[in-house]
């Protein structure tokens, strides 16, 4: 039985995540088939992505602070087919939980050797690999003593505009997951899909921890079953 989108996707309105209260639409969405335009999508040229952009640790003059890690995985569609030559964009906080962004007021140090952004195209098997440092957790003002669990942001294009997805990847065993309204907004059946697993042999011996995280996009034409 295929999972329906409602099983795994969060609702728009999730009051514990305060910013949803004024931004979530109140009216029901109108369900339509993707137009012929929306079953196609932007095609990123190979030269759009430099190979070096898959390694977030080589941007500066020396290595960034933090726990170095390798993340591997595959991008698939709901039929289990690889999504090939598709752009994956990632961004994240540094090891201290700080973004190089003017509105990030967390009193933690910037790392001059870490910009926290990267991109990669999947290969012919839908595989990707990035090298980075584990992002730090950071406080936010959604609620008293709120802290976001460590996460890496992902922006995915698939092969069709209807597949466009922006999401976040989390780390196994993080105690902050239980108190994070953004993560908890995902129905229970979907939550483990956002957590990477340790895969030590994908790491670099003596240098970097290995993690694995596969992602699944809806089929380009599939219309979810009516409820």
């Amino acid at each position: 039985m295929a999972a329906t989108h409602a099983d795994v996707h969060p609702p728009y309105l999730y009051p514990d995540y305060k910013s949803t209260r004024l931004r979530a639409p109140a009216q029901p969405l109108v369900r339509v088939a993707p137009s012929p335009l929306e079953t196609t999508g932007p095609v990123f040229p190979k030269q759009f992505v430099k190979e070096s952009e898959a390694d977030l640790t080589t941007w500066g003059r020396s290595a960034p602070l933090g726990e170095k890690m390798v993340l591997v995985g595959r991008l698939l569609d709901e039929d289990g087919r690889p999504v090939r030559r598709s752009l994956i964009e990632v961004w994240q906080a540094n090891a201290s939980g700080k973004y190089p962004h003017p509105v990030d007021d967390h009193e933690a140090p910037l790392d001059p050797n870490f910009l926290g952004k990267g991109q990669v195209l999947t290969d012919d098997e839908g595989r990707y690999r990035i090298v980075t440092v584990k992002p730090g957790a950071y406080p936010w003002q959604n609620h008293a003593f709120g802290w976001r669990p460590a996460h890496i942001h992902f922006s995915l294009f698939g092969n069709a505009y209807a597949q466009r997805l922006i999401t976040q990847m989390f780390f196994p065993g993080d105690p902050l997951l239980a108190i994070d309204p953004i993560f908890q907004s995902v129905p229970e059946a979907g939550r483990n899909l956002l957590i990477a697993e340790l895969d030590l042999e994908q790491g670099l011996e003596g240098v970097a921890l290995g993690y694995r995280w596969d992602m699944v996009l809806r089929g380009p034409r599939a219309t979810p079953m009516a409820v």
């Binding site: 209260r21 009216q27 088939a33 961004w91 942001h153 699944v216 809806r218």
Partner: protein
């Protein structure tokens, strides 16, 4: 056979500016010519306050109604991406898309597919903005699915009376005048 479950959506958050925005990301590239237009407006929340940290993306057909394929060597054709500014304003410079046919012969009116991401949006908001008046779009598949003309009007960009290359479209995410959003 185990069917893989789709990866759940999460918010883009507030910290995407350096990561996702390109120089000239609001200028949509096409290989051919077309009538240059600008789609511009403001994005508002449920209190009518401008949303200053939204990511506004567009994907559209070319002037002949064809889906873009390929790139100019640096960026994909047909795709625009900007953030809103402190007044919630976005602007996309592009060409007027042509109408196109669906698989059942239905006609899609001139339109741009839009996705909005922001802090507080746990999933993308998808919709289509029409670049033609109500009487021209009434047989469009989305216009038919919406029915109610008052709701439909939330998706019609207004042509500027002084500069006919400018189409204005304000987007209210919630509350009075809330735009119609779609799911596929």
């Amino acid at each position: 056979m185990t069917v893989p479950k789709p990866t759940p959506s999460q918010t883009v958050g507030p910290f995407f500016a350096r990561e996702l925005l390109w120089k000239d990301g609001g200028i949509v590239l096409f290989p051919g010519r077309g009538n240059r237009i600008t789609l511009t407006g403001q994005v508002f929340d449920g209190n009518g306050a401008p949303i200053f940290d939204a990511l506004f993306e567009t994907w559209q057909a070319d002037a002949n109604g064809k889906s873009p394929s390929g790139d100019d060597g640096s960026r994909p054709y047909g795709y625009g991406r900007v953030s809103t500014d402190t007044e919630g304003r976005y602007a996309i410079e592009t060409v007027m898309p042509g109408p196109f046919k669906g698989p059942g012969g239905e006609t899609y009116a001139p339109q741009i597919s839009v996705a909005i991401f922001a802090r507080g949006l746990l999933k993308a908001l998808h919709t289509r903005v029409f670049l033609a008046p109500l009487d021209v779009i009434k047989d469009d598949p989305l216009a038919r699915a919406i029915g109610d003309p008052d709701r439909l009007r939330t998706l019609i960009a207004a042509r500027d009376s002084k500069d006919p290359t400018i189409y204005r479209w304000d987007v209210r995410l919630r509350g009075a005048g809330e735009a119609v959003f779609i799911e596929f």
